[in-house]
Symmetry: C2
Subunit: 183 residues, 2 copies
DNA sequence: TATGGCATGTAATGAGTTACATGATTCC
DNA sequence: GGAATCATGTAACTCATTACATGCCATA
């Protein structure tokens, strides 16, 4: 239910082709809403059919040829409507927590290595976000748009901080656990 | 890919029928892996067909009649294998962050009320987790199983703490924003 | 002219959600 | 015996993922 709106947002920020969108979904927007190129092309087709976006004038309906989209007024209206609409938060669904709970019944053998790997990944992501903060949000610049985008980035930073701390804590606990392995 | 393993874990903790599992997925396990009864029945069928679980002896293959499942050795082995296997963390996908980013281009009108609502929901969830912690994990009890389950609960508590703080911060920022509404 | 990279797409599968259907049991 | 509730299930649909297919274009 959110992918079309993620695409509308990206296209309002800057008209783009499918592949350009795909690249932007690998960073920026993709930091909190990921999507593959297959999803994006399918959704661009739907959005165009629904009259929310259109291909820019030089429209060649040829296959391997670039096609840039822009948002139509109806698309902007739909995005504004969706942004303001009440939506319930989705319940948490996390594999790692599930595996820990499973480990309580089948033993912790082998889990620790993957916790360490996750810790490294989250540390890396955290460093990346902090670099972006330094580069794109220096103190001083604070248009409303900047503030909103900064707020989103802060969520990313705080979430990664949470995961690194939690994983460090978990690993410390593991070190103290008596041999539960293979239980 | 994780639902079957969530079910195996729940059944190892205690053999149950489909509806009992559904209830347990509304709390406990469901706090970090939610599932509806339709998913659960479908998955129970698959797990039984694959020989990972079985219906308890008094097996009546009658429709509206209770059917309790238990885990077979092959099921335990599969769960242990899955628990130890390396798995990449799934990229974040959060609607609220997306809406904030959208608000930076279409305006913040109407968003604030829903942020407040989310804040209330997260505060409620946090209180619920803290109550569980008081009740189920008093200082002192610390078998390895308790420690692992407590670790999972701590993740829930810390995550809800993060969201409440972030939402408070976001609302404070909103209060300072010049009229961006309807931009 | 052929190779590699760019760009757009199709097909198949799987996981999750929503709506509905049916049998058994209990209690009035 | 009728209504409510418990319990199990089916069907249809949407969304996401994985693998593959095809056309264009530059350049060696």
């Amino acid at each position: 239910m959110s992918l079309p709106h993620a695409i509308l947002t990206a296209l309002l920020e800057r008209p783009s082709s499918g592949l350009e969108l795909t690249r932007r979904f690998d960073k920026s927007i993709g930091y909190f809403w990921s999507a593959t190129h297959q999803q994006i092309y399918r959704e661009l087709g739907k959005l165009e059919a629904d009259g929310l976006i259109r291909a820019l004038p030089a429209e060649q309906p040829v296959r391997g040829q670039k096609k840039t989209y822009e948002v139509l007024p109806a698309g902007g209206a739909e995005l504004a409507r969706w942004t303001a609409a009440a939506q319930d938060p989705k319940p948490l669904r996390d594999t790692l927590l599930l595996r820990l709970r499973a480990a309580a019944v089948v033993g912790t053998a082998g889990l620790e290595a993957d916790l360490r790997r996750h810790l490294d990944l989250h540390r890396g992501q955290l460093a990346e976000y902090e670099e972006i903060e330094r580069r794109d949000f220096p103190p001083g610049r604070d248009s409303p748009q900047d503030r909103l985008q900064h707020l989103v980035l802060r969520a990313g930073i705080d979430l990664e901080t949470f995961w690194t701390r939690w994983l460090e804590h978990a690993l410390a606990e593991f070190a103290e656990l008596p041999g539960l392995d293979g239980r």
